[in-house]
Symmetry: C2
Subunit: 239 residues, 2 copies
């Protein structure tokens, strides 16, 4: 009836989710093929245009999503307009799992995004019958918490240069899920998004990139960067 949940992430093997490169990282990995079928019956493949919203801060959460392609920006806004980007969700990530009536953040597509949409209520009901899936979600949530705690250290205690270096190496590590391990790192988000993610201004991010170029650590390319001295960037990030 509807398109695949995990399978949709895997353009090259649409027929078999368990062969899909994304499935092991998705919450669906806990499910048997039969269960996957059940879950797919609950899901609706959905596309989002660039800049469209999947979730809006303080608005009721109707749906939960499993991202299948593209990059989603998660952000929180203060009443006076200051913005903090709290994360970027990519294929395999799960959105909307807060058990809160209203969303704590806004989720917006950066470029084109595809996702499996579930009615929140139906999904929660399904969870009651699928302890393995709950367990998997718990592990996913615990991992998200761990990442958020890393980000607390970054925002609370690191310098601008460390933040940028850390951002670049983390993005690289995250992409390694999909075998993208080359020296080129795609950065679909804008400088402003990066600044708001790192608790800096756009000017400081720009200056720091420029500095890293001058020091021959990276090269700036269209929509991304190339690592020239990955080890050194990693060293700055690690500190």
């Amino acid at each position: 009836m509807s398109a695949d949940c995990c399978e949709a992430t895997c353009q090259s093997h649409p027929a078999r989710c368990k062969d899909c490169a994304v499935r092991p990282f998705s919450v669906c990995a806990a499910l048997s093929d039969d269960e996957l079928g059940e879950l797919q019956a609950l899901s609706e493949p959905t596309s989002f245009a660039p800049k469209s919203a999947l979730l809006l801060q303080d608005e009721p959460v109707q749906n939960v999503f499993n991202i299948t392609s593209g990059c989603v920006r998660l952000s929180k806004i203060l009443s006076d307009g200051r913005r903090q980007v709290i994360g970027f969700a990519i294929a395999g990530d799960f959105l909307g799992l807060s058990f809160q009536e209203r969303s704590n953040f806004t989720a917006e597509a950066i470029g084109p995004v595809t996702a499996c949409r579930f009615r929140k209520k139906a999904f929660l009901n399904y969870l009651d019958a699928k302890p393995d899936l709950v367990r998997r979600l718990l592990e996913f949530s615990a991992n998200e918490l761990r990442l958020a705690q890393e980000q607390l250290v970054l925002l609370g205690r690191r310098t601008a240069e460390e933040r940028v270096a850390s951002f670049l190496t983390m993005r690289r590590a995250r992409n390694s899920r999909f075998g993208q391990q080359g020296a080129t790192l795609q950065l679909p988000m804008s400088r402003l998004d990066i600044a708001d993610y790192l608790g800096l201004t756009i000017e400081t991010v720009s200056r720091t990139f420029t500095k890293m170029v001058r020091e021959k650590l990276i090269i700036i390319v269209p929509d991304g960067i190339r690592f020239v001295d990955l080890a050194h960037v990693g060293q700055i990030a690690a500190e």
Copy 2:
């Protein structure tokens, strides 16, 4: 055989956990009385002296804990000594649930602390048989994630005064679990702990407290503060 898990938090009603003020906030709330008995068989009531460690960053996690009294400081340290406090755990909070081999942070008792200790392995096994408990842990974890995301905004985008005001009101809200709603707020942690939690220095925290006293927002009392103009403090925190 062992003392109670949730009941231990409730000095006044040691016999019945379901009458206990803490249980509804603890992961144990999902369990029947029978199950609670089973869980207690897995647990060991443990006391920690001030400044002793429950978990050490980068060390293997042998135990998980359900805090029953006292205040535990969770912190991460960079190689050069910079420290970020990522949270304070109090009665009802659950520690060590990261599914990682090694702990991502250090957990230290601030004053005397009591907790239910579980062997991690035994606890994880028990989880497999208790989906309701897993579900409860998922909700707990999702809530922790939400709090961490709030903290990201605080660290990334708020001023020193907003951070301190926010800290005070959040502490107050957290204590409200236990009916502590008066104008006096106990602060068991040191100024240095507060500074490392808020991404500031001890001097800035001290100066900000002093400023708030001058402006008649709070009064500093031994081991805590008293709110004089709670509404105004809340307003600064909300912004």
